[in-house]
Amino acid sequence: MIFARLAFRSLAARWLTVSLTILAIALSVALLLGVEKIRNGAKASFADTISGTDLIVGARSGSVQLLLYSVFRIGNATNNVTWESFEDIREMPDVAWAIPLSLGDSHRGYRVLGTTAEYFDRYKFRAGKGLEFTSGVAFDDVFDAVLGADVVASLGYKLDDPIIVSHGIASFTHHEDKPFRVGGILAKTGTPVDRTVIVSLEGIEAIHVDWVGGGRAAGSLTAEQARTLDLSPKAITAAMIGVESKLRIFTLQRAINDYAEEPLLAVLPGVALQELWAVVGVAETALLGVSLMVVATALIGMVAMIFAGLNERRREMAILRSVGAGPGLIMTMLIAEAALIAAAGAAVGVAILYAGLAALQTWLDATYGIYIPPTGLGEREMITLAAAVAAGALAGLAPAARAYFISLSDGMSVKM
């Protein structure tokens, strides 16, 4: 088709401005799709922070707050759950397993989590992936600690290194009399577990056994003396629950929420995550808005380029008019040109996106725990691309309309 050939050669003759315009559109499209991919990846990774756990139980507060402190190690519990309540819940018929979580202490900025060895089997993330040890094992001893990958990466611990837990979250009081030993190191998960020092519940109990209220009592005990005492915990911060049957989750949740001995709250992690994402989601919407603006900017740049070229192309239009082309055809050719540039931009943008993802995927997962599956373009992305091309063609309407009127008024004669 001669017109397609003409349009192509016309664009090729202006290759520098055209290719810069295509590049601008390509980058904006790559940004838009990239934001969308990362957004979905972040959302999925966020939702994948905890899986396989049916309920999280803590003292009565807000569901987001409970999720934040128990799973994300952000903020603090308003109250504890007594060990008796935990044992009651564990004995409930619908409960398959229950893992206690005890939070409140820290190690050089990282939260310390007291729990049972079962935690390492039950904690699942990213659709059922379990925790893996790069070295060592789960608790061998009361004073064994297991470190998350980030803790090891930033503090440089090795197996068997001593580690001293501090009292409270930001505290100058240390449990230096009862040091722990690094007994295991976990592989990177991209979850808050990476930033956690995990010790046994008995360990937490042992370092506090000679404390009264917020301070150390006179005549403190040594670590060896502490070992000999009854180290069963008196209270925990929260608990992870697995149910026997998924159908019974809501029944169990209601039972826990109605627990008479103590005000408790049970939440479904997925539901609480959605609630939390709704809060965080404002930022993603803003990001999406910004990238849409970038696409709009690139398209405006294209329109400006076509407009700027119109005057030089009046001769071209006059020639087309003289051989019999109507102004409508000239308008169509300019719209087609805009659509062609936008389509080329979209295609190059997709190429940039996948090249970028291929290059950054590992780094994103390792650094931010955002896992972006290497999938092709989904329906949503296809619609986005089609919309970008359509927007390009639509934007081309403005210079095309101008060309229409130029070619009508100029006719065949152009004063050059």
Binding site: F3, R5, L6, A12, E316, V323, G324, G326, S413, M416
Partner: protein, 234 residues
């Protein structure tokens, strides 16, 4: 109107759009079929306007413009565009070609809008190259690279190929030689005549150069057939 008239202007009135107050009037002008007429006129004498009317780009406010038996002033804009493509071959002073397209694509361009002209040819490309060769252009010049890289003289010849291909009734040439040097002018006009005659077309050439006059069947001065009125200056 008979079929023997290639072009006839009757009681033509044209007013420039806007409030400029310029008017052009032609009471009667005919170009018999097969004739080669030179229309002499200085710049600013209304030449461009008259050509726009003849080619159906501009519309007269009164009167008729009859090309090959059809009053194009009565046609819709769309049909005028089509009519121009079918019946009129146009050669400009210069910048005749789309510089980025090949000379061949430029020459074939009017056929896209003129199915009847296309139907006269069995092989469009072969015909374009045959005409080009007759005008002294070799096939390589026609098919390789953009037409913008050809010399001005070569570009004018490509424009002639484009005007003649598919044998339209009327060839309109607007100062086609003024961009050429004196020796090239003479040979260009000779070549143009030969091929217009071979195609059985009529030629209306507009120029300000009286030296060309003796080569034409007839020379008409624009001021003798047309009145241009300018509104009194305010």
């Amino acid at each position: 109107m008979t079929e023997e008239t290639a072009l006839a202007l009757t009681n033509l009135r044209f007013t420039w759009p806007g409030s400029t107050g310029f008017t052009l009037e032609v009471d009667a002008f005919t170009l018999p079929k097969g004739e080669r007429t030179l229309l002499l006129g200085a710049s600013g004498s209304g030449k461009s306007t008259l050509l726009s009317l003849i080619c159906g780009i501009s519309m007269p406010s009164a009167g008729s413009v009859t090309v090959a038996g059809t009053d194009i002033a009565r046609l819709s804009r769309r049909r005028r565009d089509r009519f121009r493509a079918e019946n009129i071959g146009i050669v400009f002073q210069q910048f005749n070609l789309l510089p980025y397209a090949t000379a061949l694509d430029n020459a074939l361009l009017p056929l896209r809008f003129a199915p009847n002209r296309r139907a006269k040819l069995t092989d469009e490309r072969a015909e374009a190259l045959r005409l080009a060769a007759a005008l002294g252009l070799d096939p390589a010049q026609m098919t390789s690279g953009g037409a913008g890289s050809l010399s001005v003289g070569q570009q004018q010849r490509v424009a002639v190929v484009r005007a003649l291909i598919g044998s339209p009734e009327l060839i309109v040439a607007d100062e086609p030689t003024s961009a050429l040097d004196a020796s090239a002018q003479a040979s260009f006009v000779d070549t143009l005549f030969t091929h217009v005659e071979a195609a059985g077309a009529s030629l209306l050439m507009v120029s300000h150069d009286e030296r060309l006059a003796d080569r034409f069947d007839r020379t008409v001065r624009l001021e003798d057939i047309a009145r241009v009125k300018k509104a009194a200056a305010v």
